[in-house]
């Protein structure tokens, strides 16, 4: 079984951005994503589960190149104004071509 190294990008953001972020990552080359509802706290204070403040946690497995593109786009258009956090990890997958 051959394992391929890829990047896992995780984005935590206010829920109102769900549709936009999904569009963005697809446009930048992501082939899929997984999403769960979350709550959290950061520099902008507690984001509870109240409708106006809940968070989403979005994961996508992508190539390093796409990962960097996603981060760049977030930095440009989302980090300044929205409550968004993102991080990248190394992961290994089977069927690497599914993700690129």
């Amino acid at each position: 079984m051959e394992l391929v190294r890829l990047k896992l990008v995780t984005i935590v953001a206010e829920a109102v951005l769900e549709h936009r972020l999904v569009e963005e990552i697809k446009r930048l080359g992501a082939k899929g994503y997984t999403l769960v509802d979350a709550r959290g706290e950061g520099s902008r204070g507690l984001r509870t589960m109240d409708w106006e403040g809940k968070n989403i946690r979005l994961e996508t497995i992508v190539s390093e190149e796409v990962a960097l593109r996603i981060l760049a786009r977030l930095q440009e258009a989302y980090f300044p104004h929205y409550a968004v956090v993102a991080f990248v990890e190394n992961v290994e997958v089977v069927r690497g071509d599914k993700y690129v």
Binding site: E14, V16, L17, R20, T48, M49, D50, W51, E52, K54, H81, Y82
Partner: protein, 317 residues
């Protein structure tokens, strides 16, 4: 009944008391919390039910009776955001986009204030016209549009309008209205025990949750200061008065006029925040959510509605 007596009656209704119980839960740091799906389910139920009830009533009234009230509502929809904008600029001295964000909120409608006003006039022995839910839809949209126009956030305008129009609050209320209109009294007989009888009880639970949400926002108000508090109480008085006048001009009944006043006086905290957050991200949401939810909403719920009613009785004579 004088105004004080009205306020007392209103204060001691289970709905208003439940709101304060929610506030208390937060102040006492109780671990009480509404599961998010319960909040969503209750609001879905309330919005559809109110539309449905209105629709059934509407099926019994001539559509031409709707004309003047609709016109009055559209007028309100244009005037109130402009008024709110001017006041925010001059009085709160906030930046242009901030004033525009507030205008979008105070120009549109809070569905729960609308429901509370309906329940109030009903308890006072009156009834509002069946088409009131339609008017909510008419009033919801222009506020957001004009707000975004004032901020020159043109790029997202079409998208924002679409989002408000098919957004769940407007969609459910208008959808319920359609279902009620088409199925009429016969339909009503089938589902009355679900959509009508338990309505006020469901509203009571919902207001408890809203009390908790509002209380959590209280600290934002404190941070933003007394001016915001003044803004959040004066604007509804102004808008409410305007609503009464236009409602009277349009030939609404006293009940309908008071409900229209409460609609004009209220500030949206479901449709508007979502649209504004996306279109004007540089404005901190604390500003508009605190104002509309933690100041204006309780003000209308507790004092505003009985006041509009007292004024209405003078005006309708």
């Amino acid at each position: 009944m004088d105004a004080l007596e009205l306020i007392r009656l209103n204060l001691l209704s289970p709905m208003v008391l439940a709101f304060f119980l929610g506030v208390l839960a937060v102040l006492l740091k109780s671990d009480l919390s509404f599961p998010e799906p319960l909040y969503a389910a209750l609001s879905l139920y309330l919005l559809f039910a109110i539309g449905f009830k209105g629709g059934v009533e509407l099926s019994k009234t001539s559509l031409e009776a709707l004309l003047r009230p609709a016109l009055a509502t559209l007028l309100l929809g244009v005037l109130t955001p402009l008024l709110a904008y001017a006041l925010a600029r001059r009085f709160l001295r906030v930046r242009q986009e901030e004033a525009a964000a507030l205008a979008a909120h105070y120009g549109s409608v809070s569905a729960v204030t609308f429901l509370a006003a309906l329940a109030f006039v009903q308890a006072a022995g009156h009834r509002a016209e069946g088409f009131m839910p339609t008017l909510v839809a008419f009033l919801e949209v222009p506020g957001v549009v004009i707000g975004l126009l004032l901020a020159r956030a043109r790029g997202d305008l079409r998208e924002a309008v679409r989002e408000v129009l098919v957004g769940r609050s407007v969609f459910l209320m208008v959808g319920g209205l359609l279902v009620g209109f088409l199925s009429g009294e016969e339909g009503m007989a089938k589902v009355k025990a679900f959509f009508v009888d338990p309505f006020n009880g469901a509203l009571t639970l919902f207001l408890m949750e809203l009390g908790m949400v509002a209380a959590r926002r209280l600290q934002d108000v404190r941070r933003l200061g007394a001016r915001l508090f003044a803004f959040g109480t004066l604007v509804p008085l102004l808008h409410g008065g305007l609503g009464l006048l236009l409602g009277h001009w349009a030939g609404l009944s006293l009940g309908g006029g008071v409900v229209l006043a409460a609609m004009a006086a209220s500030a949206s905290y479901i449709a508007a925040p979502a649209a504004v957050r996306l279109a004007l991200p540089q404005v901190s949401p604390s500003l508009y959510i605190a104002a509309s939810l933690a100041v204006t909403f309780p003000f209308n719920l507790v004092l505003g509605i009985p006041l509009y009613y007292a004024l209405g009785r003078v005006l309708w004579g």
